[in-house]
Amino acid sequence: MSLTDALDVRDGEAAHLVLRRASVLDPGAGIDAVHDVVIRDGRVATLAAPGEADADGAEVVEAEGLHAFPAFFDPHVHLRTPGHEHKEDVETGTRAAAAGGYCGILAMANTEPPVSTAADITALREQAQAGASVPVGFLATVTKGMRGEELTEMVELREAGAVGFSDDGLPITDAGVMRRALQYQHLCGGNIALHEEDPALSGDGAMHEGAVSAALGLAGVPSVSESTMVARDCGLAGYERARIHVQHLSAAESVEVVRAAKAAGVQISAEASPHHLCLTDEEVRSLDPHRFKMNPPLREERDRQALIEGLRDGTVECIATDHAPHQPEEKDVPFEQAAMGVTGLETAFAALHTELVLPGTIDLALLVERMGGGAEPFDLERPSLAPDAEANVVLCDLGAEWTVGEDGYESRSANSWCAGKTLTGRVLMTVAAGQVAYRLRSFSLGVAA
């Protein structure tokens, strides 16, 4: 399904634009050339030869030296509504997504109360129709109240528009309940996104278990608390011929398990987050919970390398931010007491471009591909720049340097893992679902061009 058919967004004016002489890169569609990108009536009308497109009343954006990519898709965002609107809501969260170059996001259901009924889904969809800058899909919980005991009314939830299911934030510890959910998926459809953690092993851990936790005296979350649960669920999914999506892989062992399961034919997809791809537990030596406390925790260099290798070989098909907004009072406390999670929507592309593409670790095409890879696991069309596709376009200046947080955030929260970093590569403009969702202020004033 197209993003606009399956997800909800505020209705606005269809974009009518010409991106003049943009360097267009869409690895999925096999496009890598300079074009005039013509967007009309919310669709990619043509990719014309550079300088050749007729403006025909459209706004012309001089994009020479700038890059146009298919806009990104994030299957893992916490919009915090209902219940924690002081951290984020549909409006601020989707503005942050638009500023990060996203044309679609999926919101997690671990709100207060959790999104467990059809009425919850309906109410959220109405909010998105009223105020979402980019299309949003909502997941419902797998179990009632995320208690891990009884399944939600998954058929009715799907009929109300739930894109899929997840108890994210908490693992489904009972293997029997997990199995029933996978069986029931044959009736209700919808992917099941899994937060993989065995609480008996992670305990009260606050960071990755290893030399750094030993030095700091912090209780550790061992890699096996994740990988053993991934292995369990790969086994169950294979047995039930069901489909699962593994969230925020962090450990080398987990990547290995997913790779083996894929090779064995299990229907499994996996995501990795920018912070796990860029940082290691060495950062935690600072004991700064604002930037470096999250679940799963930052792990070791070997884990980071395994995630990167997973991106390269397709074991990890998508990058997901796990955008997790928190207010300062939840972070201005000692590390062990601080809330888990960091924001990431506004910085994901720039951070990965800076940390992985510029040093030559991965190439730009792979990054663009994986930034859009989160749609297909949830039966959504991957954003594309092919002619006649729904216009989902991000225009970037890959040479622009900026300091994160200097101009504030679109998100209501400031717990960015990139806060204070200088990144190279900036989103100038985002077109989502055929509408202009974001323009960088200085760019729209003509300064950046």
Partner: protein
């Protein structure tokens, strides 16, 4: 040195400066009048979020011996119980313009965070399972007095290393002073990766005869219910330091409070090899030295400027 947050942040020179200063206070302690005017008119806040006898009383007495005005706040019975955040508590106490805040807190990094919120010098009196730098300094002081130097001294730290801030600070301090450290305990209570701090790891007391110093840690009863060890009986059978395992040339230390008959036998505690009482006495002078270094040392004052013979002047003595 602006704060004392961890041993990790201290150089050997800085450690030695504190120990040397403590030696001069030991001399003051033998006088009839044990008080010096160094911190007269300055305020020291001691803020304890966990129960403590030795550390809190010795910091309090150290501040008083230096003539500081002391405000002691215990979490129990204070606004902390009413849900006030650490940051707000620090802001409130900072309104008294304290020269130093001594803080003990159940979570790692608390003292470091506090240092970012106040103008006062911050002394970490224990942050979670992370560090307890003043304990490590008094232990190094005690050993240095007895042995002259820690260079090449072999020290075994025995017990629940996983949950011990003392183990972490002492390991770092002993190593920084040139000692060779082995941590020893049941595998469930030795943190994975600890050897990257430069120590040896042993899962049994085999080989402890090579140690010059045996440093036993407190074994908490709750560890049994969390199945880190099956029983106190089995723990004691394998890890208790008793007169049979301790040879006469070895020194014995413990941070207190001791569980008699668990990590140490009664006779080992009371043996002449035991430095436990000396450790407690060292606690006072080392904590005086810490406050002095942070609050007076930074002003370039030397003890010589305060009194003859390089010794701080007792109060009441004409300057």
């Amino acid at each position: 040195m602006k704060h004392l947050l961890s041993i990790e942040q201290l150089s050997r020179t800085e450690i030695e400066a504190i120990l040397d200063r403590a030696e001069s206070f030991a001399e003051v302690g033998r006088r009839d009048i044990k008080k010096v005017p160094t911190l007269r008119g300055r305020t020291v806040v001691s803020l304890f979020y966990e129960s403590s006898t030795r550390t809190s009383s010795s910091f309090d007495l150290a501040a008083k011996r230096l003539s500081a005005d002391l405000v002691s706040v215990k979490a129990a019975g204070s606004s902390v119980e009413k849900g006030e955040s650490l940051k707000d508590t620090i802001t409130t106490l900072s309104a008294y313009d304290p020269a130093a805040i001594v803080i003990r807190h159940p979570y790692a990094g608390a003292a470091q965070m506090v240092a970012g919120w106040t103008e006062a010098a911050v002394v970490n009196a224990g942050d979670g399972k992370h560090e307890h730098p003043s304990q490590a300094l008094l232990d190094v002081y005690t050993l240095r007095r007895r042995l002259g130097s820690l260079e090449g001294v072999r020290i075994w730290i025995v017990g629940d290393v996983l949950h011990s801030r003392v183990a972490r600070s002492n390991l770092l301090a002993f190593e920084r002073m040139g000692a060779e450290v082995t941590v020893c305990g049941p595998p469930t209570l030795i943190p994975r990766g600890i050897e990257e701090l430069g120590c040896e790891v042993s899962y049994s007391l085999d080989g402890i005869e090579e140690a010059d110093v045996v440093y036993a840690l407190r074994m908490q009863k709750e560890r049994m219910s969390e199945s880190f060890v099956p029983s106190l009986r089995e723990y004691a059978a394998n890890f208790q330091i008793d007169s049979r395992r301790l040879n006469p040339r070895q020194l014995l230390m413990h941070p207190g409070p001791v569980n008699r008959g668990v990590e140490l036998s009664g006779e080992a505690i009371d043996s002449p090899q035991s430095l436990i009482a000396e450790q407690v006495a060292a606690g006072l002078v080392v904590r005086m030295a810490i406050l002095y270094e942070l609050l007076a040392g930074s002003e370039g004052q030397s003890p010589a400027a305060e009194g003859e013979g390089g010794k701080p002047t007792p109060i009441g003595t004409p300057a």
